[in-house]
Symmetry: C2
Subunit: 352 residues, 2 copies
Amino acid sequence: MVRISLDLMGGDHGPQVIIPGAAKALERHPDIRFVLYGLEAECLPILDKYPKVKAASTFHACELAIAMDEKPSQALRRGRGKASMWQAIDAINRDEADVVVSAGNTGALMAMSVFCLRTMAGIQRPAIAAIWPTVKGESIVLDVGATIGADAQQLMDFALMGGAMARALFEMDRPTIGLLNVGVEEMKGQEDVREAGRLIREANLDGIDYFGFVEGDDIGRGTVDVVVTEGFSGNIALKAAEGTARQIAEYLRAAMSRTLLAKIGYILAKGAFDRLREKMDPRKVNGGVFLGLNGVVIKSHGGADAEGFAAAIDVGYDMVRNGLKAKIETDLDKYRATRAPEGAPTGTGDEV
Amino acid sequence: MVRISLDLMGGDHGPQVIIPGAAKALERHPDIRFVLYGLEAECLPILDKYPKVKAASTFHACELAIAMDEKPSQALRRGRGKASMWQAIDAINRDEADVVVSAGNTGALMAMSVFCLRTMAGIQRPAIAAIWPTVKGESIVLDVGATIGADAQQLMDFALMGGAMARALFEMDRPTIGLLNVGVEEMKGQEDVREAGRLIREANLDGIDYFGFVEGDDIGRGTVDVVVTEGFSGNIALKAAEGTARQIAEYLRAAMSRTLLAKIGYILAKGAFDRLREKMDPRKVNGGVFLGLNGVVIKSHGGADAEGFAAAIDVGYDMVRNGLKAKIETDLDKYRATRAPEGAPTGTGDEV
């Protein structure tokens, strides 16, 4: 049994999408038990339409929902203890759930998760890991927005956590890890990235295979299983790639509707186009994973439909089934053991 | 007349691609006069095959070529005063050229350009500006790799220079400028970006229209004419987008060759696919522009073919014809006039 807590009020469409999404995930994984949090008047009528979800769930009425555009600090102030988002996260603390999934706003979800679950012992800052489609399959990219300007030690932590996640998600023994960098050599400002490379190499963890530096175009190429970077550049990379995919889809649409021959060609090749669309479909790779907290939090895209939200639940399911948290803890223990007993965290030396 | 200096030895194919590229550009712009630098034995036989280029050129024999994988510091040490790359840049100092174009290695070209031309008075650090295809046309993105971790004042300078370049390249009066940022609010680590926003707004330059923050997916959407960011994230964004475009092209190829119907469809729609390919063709938007130096330096992709190199020459030609350097200087003067007479550069307050 995997116990999954859902914030029914998150996302652009709230329970109208989340509950049907839960139904889809439940079909694939009948051993899921849901703990649901939401406003009674909005949720119960929809829940009644999905008897299988209802039968596999416990519903908890909440008095408050966090808005998609609410500032994290305000969400925390207003929603602490009361909002469906908070309650869904807190279910982990109360040992009522193994993982929480929310399509709510990222900033509020991260702020509440950090406040409610706290960072794991030995991890300074959380990371958001994205599952990125590549030519070879999928890779993990972290951090995509939680820790802007992560320093060398934090990048080292991200490598460790990303490696554990790859083992859990891809069911592999020794994922390859690359540090995102720019190609031009001898540039200033990469001290943290270089130092992180040194730390990862020296840690010599047996659960990860350190590849070295990779560049932006290596992500889509699938050069490594896990790409590690700080949150600003990771977020920019993710959004730039999404933007490019959307842009090309638009070019393609325009090109295929310009002439009669192109239109006929499109109809004949429709099966191929459908497969292509599926491959480029962000719903299929929905679900950012918050790493470094005392509990697994899955963030679904706010605009996800039922299929997309179900994909986010799938990720949460896999993370629990394959013991993500235990894998991170094991690696952390091994990592700590490799370091001097005094164990003062190694600074990068170039900061205040 | 536009005087363009070329480093014939740069790029993966050297004079074999550069000279034919020069021929293509010359056809489009018969008022170009080339100043050519290269190894005599390699260049002259090819130049003889292109009599029109030869007639419009002065060739200077050099004794040294910079390798594509040479480290910037080594290139500078070894090539100073002697290499074709150095000589081509130095032609600007000797007032023999208005702009230099090289497909040589980016790090070496930047190091030599800074050393040889120096940064403009009032500009602390150079930037590399990329011309980025968007749904609406083209935008300028800077910096894509020269100044890692640019601070607020440097980002302000980039906005000013990017604005001047947009006016020169797109021949518009008041380009819109956006600062690249991540969407999640109230995150630490964005102090420089916020402070830069304040500086740009306060400078209130009449040559730029400050839009505010934009995110990674706004680049391809063409939300603004100029996207400003520091060099690390800019480089990662550029490469991530390139990687995604290549990845989708690969998906498309695979999808179109899977079934007989798809193959027939592809043949019928070939005209449309060719147009799409052209739109995605990096050769058409080749040419990064080094900004902030006492002279305009155009960097072509190392792997560019003749068409691609010609596109880089076109960019250089436009920059001279439309007075890029004068435009930057005018804006700098106006900007300086808005600041206190003591004029100590505004620090960001959060650095050592």
